[in-house]
């Protein structure tokens, strides 16, 4: 089982092997023999050279179905990363490159309480486009793309889920 490990913009090759009753993790070229056990759903216990580490794995939403994002809780703290099947990695890269501009989508379930732009408006990176309410808090959502607003996908008062597209911003031709 080979995967590309994505950490921000870095990518590393990692592998889990199981032969003759021994499980091996190949990590940055080095092989480690590990004892790994799923004790509860998505909760693992690992022993590696005496060290005992417990990992709670929380599969997270990913930008596309081929990239699997994970959040892992350890006693030590939380880690975030993604795994891609190397056979799919090229496709993923191509898809990401194809997307000019961006869609601002909802980072949480909530209610749209204010729209601050209209189609045709020019916007700067970091500009607030919309205000959402969830859990008695108002949250300003900002664009990470500078460009022109082309589509407003929602109306004020709408209740949206995590990942619902809200506003499309098209970056100017480079």
């Amino acid at each position: 089982m080979k995967r590309n490990l994505l950490l921000g913009k870095e990518s590393h090759e990692v592998e889990l092997l199981h032969q003759d009753g021994v499980t091996t993790l190949v990590w940055e070229g080095e092989s480690h023999s590990i004892d790994i056990l799923e004790l509860e759903p998505n909760c693992y216990s690992i022993l590696l050279g005496g060290r005992s580490v417990e990992v709670r794995l929380d599969p997270a939403k990913a930008p596309d179905s081929d990239t699997h994002a994970y959040r892992a809780l350890l006693y030590d703290g939380a880690y975030e990363f993604a795994l891609v099947d190397p056979r799919r990695a090229l496709l993923v890269g191509a898809a990401a490159a194809g997307a000019g501009g961006g869609i601002l989508s909802s980072p949480m379930p909530g209610k749209v309480v204010k729209l601050l732009v209209q189609p045709g408006d020019s916007v700067q990176e970091g500009q607030t486009l919309l205000v959402m309410e969830a859990m008695k808090m108002q949250n300003e959502l900002k664009t990470t793309t500078a460009g022109t607003v082309t589509i407003i996908h929602v109306q004020v008062g709408a209740t949206v889920e995590t990942g619902t597209p809200l506003i499309t911003v098209v970056a100017p031709e480079p």
């Binding site: 089982m1 998505n42 994970y70 379930p109």
Partner: protein, 497 residues
């Protein structure tokens, strides 16, 4: 007054908290719930439960008539309001009284007189309790600027009917005053329906210290020592402790007695909290009297060994306070961390959703007041607080170390939360030294952790997870991804029979 069956007009952890005391006292409980809360823990734990409308609080938990109706249907003869919702609503308190239902809270007159911050200031001044120098009288914006210059800048603008930091503004210079006042009035109007704003002298690096008070219907009043709640973010308390590392025995006595002056002035009945600001020289100034049980009451329960909800019920029944001032214990030190469904890595954005796993800490002197369970939905409609974790130790440092260890045991999945943030705070030097003030978190001490040395353990598990997912997909195409049946899905299937 009779208290034989209690309706809890609230939800979440505080409803559970009240149910626990009722179970110990053998009193049956009635839960109310909105449509978003059918599966909530308080519905599961109460003896009875009634739906009171759609998810938004103003259509359910805040509708007095619906609560009164459930009292009638269930035969509940008392209502515990918890905090928030109807807890500081004098109209509601009066309506319960009129319906012959015991309201487990202060008299409506006390709620009323403390509801306006400016009116409360007047009461405190008259009672001889020190207040922050300021102007509570109504006057034109121009006169307010002149009066503010007399107090001396910086000053703080506050909404008279406000709370929770809304309508609050720190003004450093006279030039900024007029525009800041306009903005504060706007916020006050939109948040509280009243644009009254008053001015207080701004205390430099103030500490927020409050006194827990209790009164009975026989005119007795006691204080249960102080809590310090200086660790705040956007004027919201994050960590509370009791006692305060700043308070000496002399200061404790002086603050307690000042608080009781206000309590006696309004003939206060039940549990209340007098909030003060304190400065480095241990001067303290009255801020307000909260006429309800506070979120942070567990730290007081730890150091006194008392059950404040039980005391509320005894007082509501017309009994005398169980202890005199001299008998109130003060043992050791307690800490409380508020566990929120929010993402500290993304500017504390709320994170409602389904809790996919939950492991709560235990052991010596660890208390978790939670309102959720593994599999529960945290709705987007209410407060993001899902639990209050508190610890006790013989010393402040032992309480802190216990909290640090307990936070390490606490595991919540499916939603983002602030447990790692709290753990970092427990290791933050100024916090450990007790050098607290309300601006402690303004400078971001918290930074998103990088990838540490244990990354390979996490990745190994994810690889095994990928492998299993592939195998499961191959074996049973109809199965769902996480391998766990979803209760709501099954229910949906059942509904479609």
């Amino acid at each position: 007054m009779s208290v034989t069956k209690i309706l809890i007009a609230n939800r979440g952890e505080i409803a559970i908290r009240v149910i626990r005391t009722c179970r110990e006292m053998g009193i049956p409980t009635v839960a109310v719930y909105s449509e978003a809360d059918r599966g909530a823990l308080h519905v599961r734990m109460a003896d009875e439960a009634y739906c009171i409308g759609p998810a938004p609080a103003r259509e359910s938990y805040l509708v007095l008539e619906k609560i009164l109706d459930v009292c009638r249907r269930s035969g509940a003869d008392a209502v515990h309001p918890g905090y928030g919702f109807l807890s500081e609503n004098a109209v509601a308190a009066r309506a319960f009284e009129a319906a012959g239902i015991t309201f487990i809270g202060p008299r409506p007159e006390s709620i009323m007189s403390m509801g306006s911050k400016t009116a409360a200031r007047v009461v405190a001044i008259a009672a001889g309790c020190p207040v922050v120098p300021g102007i509570q009288e109504t006057m034109s914006d121009e006169d307010l600027l002149v009066a503010s210059q007399k107090i001396g800048f910086p000053v703080m603008l506050k909404a008279a009917m406000g709370g929770g930091g809304k309508g609050m503004r720190l003004v450093h210079k006279p030039e900024e005053f007029t525009s800041a006042l306009a903005r504060a009035r706007g916020e006050a109007l939109s948040s509280f329906g009243d644009d009254s704003v008053y001015v207080e002298k701004a205390i430099v690096q103030p500490r927020h210290i409050e006194i827990q008070i209790f009164g009975d219907t026989h005119g007795n009043h006691v204080y249960l020592h102080e809590r310090e709640c200086s660790v705040q973010r956007r004027h919201q308390k994050v960590i509370e402790e009791a006692p305060s590392p700043h308070v000496t025995p002399e200061m404790r006595k002086a603050m307690g007695e000042a608080a009781l002056k206000v309590a006696k002035a309004v003939d206060y009945v039940g549990a209340g909290t007098v909030e003060f600001l304190a400065d480095a020289e241990r001067n303290f100034y009255f801020l307000e009297l909260n006429t309800r049980l506070q979120v942070e009451h567990p730290v007081t329960e730890w150091i006194t060994g008392l059950d404040l909800v039980k005391w509320q019920i005894l007082v509501a029944r017309g009994e005398r306070l169980p202890m005199t001032q001299e008998e109130i214990p003060l043992n050791g030190w307690a800490m409380e961390c508020r566990i929120y469904a929010e993402d500290p890595d993304k500017n504390f954005m709320p994170s409602p959703g389904k809790i996919t796993f939950l492991r709560t800490p235990s052991g010596r002197n660890v208390r978790d007041d939670s309102g959720v369970y593994e599999g529960a939905e945290v709705p987007m409609f209410y407060d993001p607080m899902i639990s209050k974790l508190s610890t006790w130790g013989p010393t402040r440092m032992e309480a802190i170390e216990r909290m640090r260890a307990a936070l390490g045991e606490y595991q919540i999945g499916g939603i983002r939360h602030n447990i790692t943030f709290h753990k970092a705070l427990m290791e933050h030097e100024p916090f450990r030294e007790g050098a607290l003030h309300t601006g402690l978190l303004d400078k971001p001490f918290w930074k998103k952790r990088g990838q540490g040395p244990d990354l390979k353990f996490a990745v190994a598990c994810a690889l095994l997870h990928e492998l299993e997912t592939e195998q499961r997909r191959a074996a049973q195409p109809a199965g769902n991804d996480d391998g766990k049946p979803d209760a709501w899905k099954h229910w949906g299937r059942f509904n479609r029979i």
